[in-house]
Structure formats: C-alpha cells, structure tokens
Amino acid sequence: MNKIVKLALVLFAVSAIVAGVLGVVNELTYPVIDAQKQAKTAAAFASVLQADRFELIDFSNPDFPTVQTVHKAEGAGYVVTSTFSGAQGNITLAVGVDNDFKCTGISVIEHSETSGLGANAASTGEVGVNFRKQFVGQDESIALSNAGGSIDALTGATITSRAITEAVATSILAVESLS
C-alpha cells in the first residue's frame, strides 16, 4: 500500500511540475499565436472582399450544413467560410459575396487535395490564381464549363473544381437567404 502511494505521489509531482511549466509557456505564447491566427483569417478575408472591418454574424440555417461562419462587412458585402469534401479530404473555403449577390473572390484556407492536381486550387502559382479569378463576378447559377457553365476545371481535378464551384454557389445562396 505504502509503495503505491509513493509511486502515485512521484508521478503526481512530475506531472504537476510539467503542467506548471506548460502553463507558464502557454501564458507567454498565447497572445502571439492568437494574433497570428487573426492576421491569417483577416488576410484570407481581405483577399476575397475589399473592406475594413468584418463582423461575425449569427448564421444557423439547416439548409446550409456546410457553411461554417458568415462575416458581414458594412457596405461591401459578406464573407462566407464553408467546409465541404473535395477529392481527397475536406476543403475550407472563404467566399466573398457583394450586396448584389455576386462572388467577389475565393480563397482556399485549408485543403488536402492531390499535389499537382487539386492542390492547384490553392496554389499561389499562375494556375491557381487564374482558376480562382474565374469566380469573380459569378452569381449563384455558376457551373463548370462541361456542365454548361463558364468555369474551366483544373486539369485532372474535375472533382475538386466541381466541389469548389458548388461551394461558391452554396455560399451565395446562403447570403441570399439572409435578406
């Protein structure tokens, strides 16, 4: 019995010391990490909609299960982030929508698509930039060119392209449902 108590005490002491150290480090690094997270989201938002301030608004419509958050920018429009499944895994996408329900730009925040194919949707290279540019000015009837729309799919990544196109349409519809 005595031995078990001793073992427990030693383990507890070690854990307590480690926890204490972690607490201190967390206290020091948390503000820096938080600031970075916000800067990153802000950068993604700024790239899809030109506005100074984004305000998180309440959005819980069961018709749009993929929509994560909706931010409102006074006068400029809305930014919708949604998470949906691409070809390989989930894609998180920020879509800017102006007050006329036209897309003002898209930015892929997170994805795990095939490098060289679907991953081009997020790349900063020419292919990715040109792909994302196509969405600017589109409305909710947006579709890929092989389905009668005007969006050219990424080479060899029809599934990714279709998922993103559908997500953009969903985001526009979600904004329309607000008014």
Partner: protein, 334 residues
C-alpha cells in the same frame, strides 16, 4: 512480358518431357511482332512522334538494364529482349503527346526500380511497364491525363462515356481506332490481330484475356448506363478504353500472373471487376492499368489457393495428405 523460364531450364530435365526450342528471346520477339500492327496504326494516327517514342523508350529500357547489371557486376541480360518489350509496352499505354524524356524516366522506374531491384527478369512482382505508367501518371498528371492530337486536347471516349456530355464516337470508330487515346490502345482491330498471332504462336493463352474482357463486358452489360443501349454500352466499354490492350498484352505477363488454370481465370475476373469498379465509382475514367497492378499483388495468394494437384495421386490420397499437413501445422503451433 517477362519469361520465367530461362534458357537453360529445358536442358536439365529427367522426365520424358517435350523439348522445345522456344526461349525467352523468341517469346519476346513474338511479342514485338504482335505489336507491329498496333505500332503501325499508332504511327499512322499520331504521326512520327509516336514512332520516336517507341524507339527511344525501347532504347532507354535496354540501356538502363545494361547499365544496372554492368554497375552491379551481374550477367548482362539485354539480349533476351525483355527490356525492349517493356519499353515498347510502356509507350503503348502512354498518350501520344508524351515527351520523349518523360518516357525515358518511366523506363528508368520500370527497369531499375520495379524489375532489377527485385532480382531481374521473372522476379518482379509488378508488371514493369504498367508500374512505369502509374509512376508517370502520378508524377506528370497534368500532361498525361489528357490526350492531345496535333496540339488539340481531346477528351477520351471513356471521358465521354462516364462524363456528362454525349459520346460522339460510334462503335465502329471505337473498334477500328478513330478515337483519341493512348498510342497502343485505340484500335481494337489491330490489337486483336496481334492477339491472334500471340495465341497462334502459343505465347499467351486465351484464358486471362478472355476472362478480363468477358468480365468487363458482363459487368457493363448488367450495370448499363442511362442513354445507351446495353449492348452498345458494353461493347464501348470493351473497345473504347485500355481493356483490350492491357488485358491481352499486360495481364498475360508470365512473371506477374498466376500459373494455375483456375488461378488465371480468377485473376482475369478480378482485373475485369476492379476495372469496372474504378470506371463506375472511381475518380479516374480509366482503371484497367491500376486493376492489373492490384491483381499483380494478389498473384502469389491466388497461386497458393489454386495449387495444382500432383500427377499420379488420387483425389482421396491428395485430400488425406492435405488434412495430415494441416494437422501437423496445428500441432506445431500448439
């Protein structure tokens, strides 16, 4: 197409066995002869670049095989022509716009990584040409997942069949090869001519090709597709893609297909089923090369499961032996 039996095997025989003059070199030469109509048609359709690809890929494979074996001080085996055949078959399953350097990279992967690192001819567990193609498709998907003819990108017939827009090619066009596609896969007519030669020369047997093509036909006939008649759909599935070529020239590779008769049929049916699964449900329009690679990996298990019965042993004796073996194993475990 790699041959298991090396030349000397027929000389160390003590049973009254049939002697044959066929050896690896002759078999590989037969394969090259059988692909002549296919290469000819490919060059006619796609121009001299196709011929350049064939020649450089064959040269590349032979060079890599020679260089590897020379470097590791092993016997030089290039005169059995198996490396040349690998290079030839690799180009046959590549689209016509493939740059020469890309084919040579595929040669390197096929010969050095897939074939030689595992011990050379007859010891590889994947079909080298198909593994080379899979490597290239994964690496240069932007270039190789489309087909370009005269600088214009065309959707493949399978892309139409499983896509949203209607199929513009008739069955006759698919059969005779007036369709876009990989260099060696377009003309079912030329492929069948080559297959007839191979079967007549007894280089390959009909079992694997027939079970592959038959399964693809049966599954697509049963599965059907909106907007197509059942027969038309099934025949297009057989003729328009790579099933004909890979089923006849790739799936029959000696080293990577089962040796038992029932095993070969199971193997062929497996390839057909996987191909149709990938076509119906997969992300790629065409799946027969992946189907063959997957079944290559199962070959050892199929062979084990379909073990041949010994001659001169009655069925009851054979079964008794089997149970005795099983019991012995059990005892050894416990």
């Amino acid at each position: 197409m790699n041959e298991k039996n090396e030349r000397m095997i027929f000389d160390v025989t003590y049973q009254p066995q049939v002697r044959t003059v066929r050896d690896t070199q002759r078999i590989m030469l037969d394969v090259i002869i059988a692909t002549l109509p296919i290469v000819g048609f490919g060059v006619y359709r796609f121009g001299w670049h196709a011929l350049l690809l064939v020649v450089s890929s064959m040269a590349g494979c032979v060079f890599f095989e020679w260089a590897y074996r020379r470097l590791l001080k092993k016997s030089i085996t290039i005169d059995d022509l198996s490396a040349a055949v690998t290079g030839l078959l690799l180009v046959m399953v590549l689209p016509p716009q493939t740059p020469v350097w890309m084919a040579v990279i595929g040669d390197f992967f096929a010969i050095v990584i897939v074939k030689q690192l595992y011990g050379g001819i007859g010891k590889n567990f994947l079909n080298p040409a198909l593994a080379g193609r899979a490597f290239l498709t994964a690496s240069y998907s932007g270039v190789l997942t489309v087909v370009m003819i005269d600088g214009v990108t065309s959707a493949t017939p399978l892309g139409y069949l499983y896509g949203d827009s209607p199929m513009p090619y008739t069955l006759a066009q698919s059969f005779f090869g007036a369709i876009p596609g990989s260099i060696g896969e377009i003309s079912s007519f030329a492929i069948l001519a080559g297959a007839a030669y191979l079967i007549a020369r007894k280089v390959i047997r009909w079992r694997i090709p027939l079970s592959v093509i038959g399964t693809v036909f049966a599954v697509s006939f049963l599965g059907g597709h909106a907007g197509y008649g059942r027969f038309e759909w099934a025949l297009q599935n057989v003729c328009a893609g790579g099933v004909m070529f890979t089923g006849i020239f790739m799936a029959t590779d000696y080293a990577t297909s089962p040796v038992t008769i029932s095993g070969q049929i199971i193997y062929g049916i497996g390839i057909g089923l996987l191909t149709m699964l990938i076509r119906y449900f997969g992300g790629y329009a065409e799946g027969c090369s992946y189907a063959i690679l997957i079944m290559n990996l199962c070959t050892w298990a199929i062979d084990k499961a379909c073990h041949r019965r010994q001659f001169g042993v009655s069925r009851s004796d054979f079964l008794a032996q089997k149970t005795a073996g099983k019991n012995a194993k059990k005892e050894a475990v416990s």
